[in-house]
Symmetry: C2
Subunit: 195 residues, 2 copies
């Protein structure tokens, strides 16, 4: 059964990016501090970091992301579009499809649930990976669409930026912790959403 | 060398308590959801949970807490005051000392740094444990007073309540992850603050 999996790298204080996110600086003032575990900033990831990176898309049939993440990211994702599979961008503003080699971006204007539904249909029984940004993750959680979360918690307190989680009036969401591996660059922890 | 150690139990989305904290409900709408790893709510803690609980005060010479935590907690801490050592309460409003068996509470009105300094002096070379609430933790972090953090991250998204971390204009605080143990009830993770 196809699952919807959130896969993101927050700081310990829960930010997915610093302040002043822009096309020039997709993660704002945080730079690539949250992605050293992927080898950025001259870091040397550990074996468990490599394994967490390799696992990110191994079951993925499709990807969901937000429009802002697309806007600030597309210039950095290269000729192959980085994701190598159908991607669905939740947005309020229509946009023509974008193709980058094996990666396609389709823009869905009728809400995050419909974006996830389209991704699920395109995934052919494989999983849908929600890669961000925070607003899309929050809307997926609020709509009860998330089956798993994979967090790569980075050992830094950014103090400001884009929070992964937002205040929500929804009932508490109970989780089951299903795996933890820690390295110098991240605590890779996975949760199953229990319903 | 005496260390200042924050030891708290946040939800995965970073709340130390739910909404509507009161004397009647010290953790508000969250009840004791964040303390199942300590055996509350009929839970059966795992061996690693017991070890994390036992480790909490083993090196502690003194405790620091906030006035609000004292107010809502003192009625639940019993005849021995729960902490079994000198406690220092950061507050704006003076209050006479409170003694509960081996536990003493002294109220310090000249700021969180001075509260920590008094606790350090009383700790006799042992560690100072900062048990909350969130405001005191944040002020300790902002003042650069924290040597270690022990977080017992509970697998639930509360969605609302008292956030452990607050927006801060201070520079990012770099951490070194020094230990992780996961159980069904919590991910016990420790960090050293690097300066």
């Amino acid at each position: 059964m196809s699952k919807v999996i959130v896969d993101v790298s927050p700081s310990l204080d829960g930010y997915l990016a610093g302040e002043e996110v822009s096309v020039e600086r997709p993660f704002g003032t945080a730079g690539h501090r949250l992605h050293r575990w992927l080898g950025f900033e001259g870091a040397t990831p550990a074996e468990a970091d490599h394994e967490a990176a390799a696992a990110m898309f191994v079951t993925a049939g499709a990807v969901v992301l937000g429009r802002r993440m697309f806007e600030v990211g597309i210039g950095t994702w290269g000729a192959d579009g980085a994701f190598g599979r159908p991607c669905f961008v939740a947005t309020h503003r229509p946009h023509e499809n974008v193709d980058r080699g094996p990666t396609s971006f389709e823009f869905v204007t009728d809400g995050v649930p419909e974006t996830v539904a389209k991704a699920r249909a395109a995934a052919g029984g494989k999983d849908v990976i929600v890669v961000g940004g925070a607003s899309v993750v929050q809307q997926c959680l609020a709509a009860g669409l998330v089956d798993e979360m994979r967090l790569h918690v980075v050992p830094v307190l950014l103090g400001a930026g884009t929070p992964l989680f937002a205040d929500s009036s929804a009932a508490p969401v109970e989780l089951e912790q299903t795996g933890v591996v820690a390295t110098a660059e991240a605590v890779h922890v996975t949760y199953r959403v229990t319903r």
